[in-house]
């Protein structure tokens, strides 16, 4: 057996391999350059037509528009969530009539554009004015804000019902059978075993639905509700300054990104028992 008598002197690290200048490297740099140029260009454009009066005049109205958008989305998501419960029940029940009604409802609201539904409610219900006046609902339905809320609630209820149904049906059969084997009543099994697991599955689609509603709510500007988009359009029509749209874009992006990151945080927090 031989053994080392002297230690080898430490060698300098080998020279770093020269990174080849590949096509994708070139393309990546070029595209980043395009983004940089675009943001500098937009910044210069905004700085060029910037004026404190305009900011003082339209800044507060942008904020009030933001408030309108957020209230509209928040209320319709909550009301839609409540309305989605019977629809989801209808979709899953064995009763043929109920399940067909629920299916038709969901198919209609998911198959047609939100803007068409909004027009149908806002302009279309005007045809039924005498009847609506007779039942005292006309003062509600002549208000564009209420029409938007009504449409959004019906629309998001259809989507949320599908999310709920998909989540509940995604819980494996074994969970039902396990609960039955433990002698739990059906109700307890549903609320204590099925629903908590389903809600974890439904979490991400619910977040996507809220984001879709925030984005979709921009169309209320067309029926004269002054939400963020409406305020932007008003400001643009008064000033012909294109940067109004850019500010709206920034605000929408901030809203969506905050929500997306919040949802990612909630999801990692709630599923930490599933991590291995």
């Amino acid at each position: 057996m031989s053994h080392a008598e002297t230690m080898l002197p430490a060698l300098p690290p080998p020279p770093e391999a020269l990174k080849r200048y590949t096509f994708s490297r070139l393309l990546g740099r070029a595209l980043l350059g395009v983004w940089l140029a675009a943001s500098v260009g937009i910044f210069l454009f905004a700085a060029d037509s910037w004026s404190p009066e305009k900011f003082a005049k339209y800044g507060p109205s942008f904020l009030s528009g933001l408030r309108v958008t957020l209230t509209l989305v928040a209320i319709s998501i909550v009301l839609g969530g409540i309305l989605s419960l019977p629809i989801a029940y209808g979709r899953m029940t064995k009763n043929k009539v109920l399940s067909w009604i629920a299916y038709g409802y969901v198919y209609f609201f998911r198959g047609t554009p939100l803007i068409t539904q909004l027009f149908l409610v806002y302009y279309g219900l005007g045809s039924f004015r005498p009847y609506l006046e007779a039942v005292g609902l006309w003062s509600l339905f002549k208000d564009a804000w209420f029409c938007a809320l009504f449409t959004f609630t019906l629309n998001t209820a259809a989507y949320q019902a599908e999310i709920l149904r998909g989540a509940i049906e995604s819980v494996p059969r074994g969970q039902h059978e396990g609960a039955a084997a433990l002698g739990l009543p059906k109700r307890v099994a549903f609320f204590k075993i099925i629903l908590p697991q389903a809600m974890i599955v439904a979490l991400r689609p619910y977040g996507n639905e809220i984001i879709l509603m925030i984005k979709g709510s921009a169309i209320v500007a067309i029926v004269t509700v002054f939400d963020l988009m409406g305020e932007t359009r008003r400001a643009f029509s008064r000033t012909y300054d294109f940067q109004m749209y850019l500010w709206a874009a920034v605000l929408y992006l901030i809203m969506v990104e905050i929500l997306r990151n919040l949802w990612a945080w909630i999801e990692t927090r709630l599923t930490r028992h599933l991590k291995r």
Partner: protein, 267 residues
Amino acid sequence: MQAAFAALSSIVSWFASMIDPMCGPIGIFRLFAQDTLLACGDTGWGDEIAYGFMITASLAICTLPIGLFFGFFIALAKQSEEKSLRLATNIYTTIFRGLPELLTLFIVYYGLQIVAQQVMAAIGYEGQVEINAFIAGMIALGVVFSAYCSEVLLSAFKAISRGQYEAGDALGLHRGKTMRLIILPQLVRIALPGLGNLWMALLKDTALVSVIGLPDILRQTGIAARVTKNAFEFFSIACLLFLILAMLSSLVFSALERWTKRSETVR
């Protein structure tokens, strides 16, 4: 040569008018709605609405290949080893998935107008530059579609195991050939349900283009509603037409899905 083209185009338009499902000789409006508001010709709104239907369908169909093409290359860029390429494409998807489609449309429509105006002014043309609403809609919807499409394709790419690429290498196939012969067929099969959802979303988003003046279903029915004061009927028809489009495309997609799964054994 020119005469031949003219003859060909007249034959094509005659054929199109024969099989027109709404106002053709055997169209539904012609057969069932001749004496109503939906009559074809000058007495009713049937032909206007049929034209809007064609515009909506052709806008969606024209946008699809553009979105798919760019979405595919963005998905490729997103899984590249190059950091800057990934960053650049992630910025793109973050922006265009986060913006409302309506706002994207306005930004493209008015922004392009400003840019085109300045470019034309630079080469010495002083006049009003109008951007075609169809083109603006195609660009805006295509951009949004490609952003979503790249995410769908990216997750489909991730579902294909490394072994498939290695098998391609082992067979001595060129990288492009591996992609075309081995990866793409599987990619289409995996991504088809997601792409179907995106197509439905695209179909619904085309309704937004009516806001910038494209005579699509919604705009034509809106004009009819304003003139005749029968708003509920006409907007119901608009909803019905969109539902018909949705049903047609779900038929096509289920057929496509069966076709892509033809190699799988029947269990």
